[in-house]
Symmetry: C2
Subunit: 226 residues, 2 copies
DNA sequence: CTAAATTTCTGAACGCGTTCAAGTAATTGT
DNA sequence: ACAATTACTTGAACGCGTTCAGAAATTTAG
């Protein structure tokens, strides 16, 4: 996944640097690991790392990209096993937890530059649009024949909303220090229950005015980012 | 607000450093401003800044503390002018926008270390508990005789939830680059409308089960932080 | 008033992420 | 085969936030 890959040799070097970095991140932690250390572990000079990756964060980004590709088949598999909006939502998010389980700190390093769409490494940035769109498509997929009647006006926006919801859960997960992140486990169950309930409720005729306001809210938030 | 203030002279120096920092932050931006520059502007050596403030971020924290004190009377005034949950919520949050209007970037610098309760400078950290509690108390105040019937089980948790809601809005505001942050203006209106509607709806007998789940969710989130 | 203790301040130094001018290896065109 | 071009690699250097051993100023004690 390195940005430079003209030559097979170069691609190999890029991979070596990425893997060296991930090894050290997991071994020593993200902040403790230095670019000099990464280069040394990969058997190159310090500057070489910057020939392949624009920054230390960019290495994490490369890891994130790679992870998302790797997760696709796992998601397909997980979704095949369950039905219903609630269970499928849970399954989709759980795949991500499982995949990143041993890399929570690395993901945290990515997420701490956080929600600023100006920051290139943010999940909301222009640079991560492609990967985000792939992710959002899964929420679209989940909503088809999920057994829940979804208002026509809500349907086109719901995938974005659910993706945002997912980011919130993931954010909670990366900072959750309870043993085996069991708090996130409880959170996921309850949050998904709440969200699906809200969707069901939003379909009630009585709720039309509130729904319209909420939709307008979504429109404003989506304004130029997301 | 400097941490060191044994002597009047020391307090004065601490203030001078804080003000020098704020001047430069506003003039040159947060990242561009260096600790060396701050010290120079304050007429002291580089190290002196660290005698008074543990870090560059700690200076921002000092600014934040001072701001919160300064805002108290403004909040009282603003709330005296309006009635009703919706209008009061809006007014409370708007006071903060007005106060931080010329310091958005500084606040952004504080908020980017973000929601990690481990980070001392996070709005969710143990170190900021005092200031947070004062802030949450205002939401408590707003709920008294607001004209909206609030379920008994919800009432004790609502101030925390609304504070969290406020943080979300503020977060949107600091990264909102639309002219004069007009997008946040729209967001605030719609979001407050949505939230008050949800509170009203949650009082419906029909909603009892959902409300219970949501409350359980709040309990889990509050687990050991917030 | 002086000596000890404490508070306040200094500026060089450290480690980090990052940059860059310069080198070496590989590929291409002829 | 051999330049010329391009791809890759180097390690010293820069600027930053931060630390620290110790100097200067101030307060306290006798």
């Amino acid at each position: 996944m390195p940005p430079v890959k003209i030559t097979p040799k170069a691609e190999e070097t890029g991979f070596r640097i990425l893997n060296a970095a991930l090894t050290l991140f997991r071994q020593e932690g993200f902040d403790t690991t230095t670019m000099r250390g990464i280069a040394q572990q990969a058997g190159v000079a310090t500057g070489a790392a910057y020939y392949y990756y624009d920054s230390k964060d960019a290495i994490v980004m490369a890891f994130y990209r790679r992870s998302c590709v790797e997760m696709q088949p796992q998601i397909t598999e997980a979704l095949a096993e369950v039905t219903g909006l609630e269970k499928r939502l849970q399954a989709l998010i759980r795949v991500k937890f499982e995949h990143f389980a041993r890399n929570r700190e690395i993901l945290r390093a990515l997420l701490r530059n956080g929600a600023d769409p100006k920051h290139p490494l943010s999940p909301f940035s222009e640079q991560t649009k492609e990967i985000r769109d792939i992710d959002i498509a899964w929420f679209d997929r989940i909503l088809i024949d999920c057994g829940v009647r979804i208002p026509k006006d809500l349907l086109p926006h719901l995938p974005d909303v659910l993706w945002f919801f997912q980011m919130g859960v993931i954010f909670f997960w990366v900072i959750d220090e309870s043993p085996n992140q069991e708090r996130t486990g409880q959170l996921l169950d309850l949050a998904v229950k709440s969200v699906t309930s809200l969707i069901r409720i939003s379909a009630l005729p009585l709720m039309r005015p509130v729904r319209k306001v909420a939709l307008e809210l979504v429109r404003v938030v989506k304004g130029d980012n997301l």
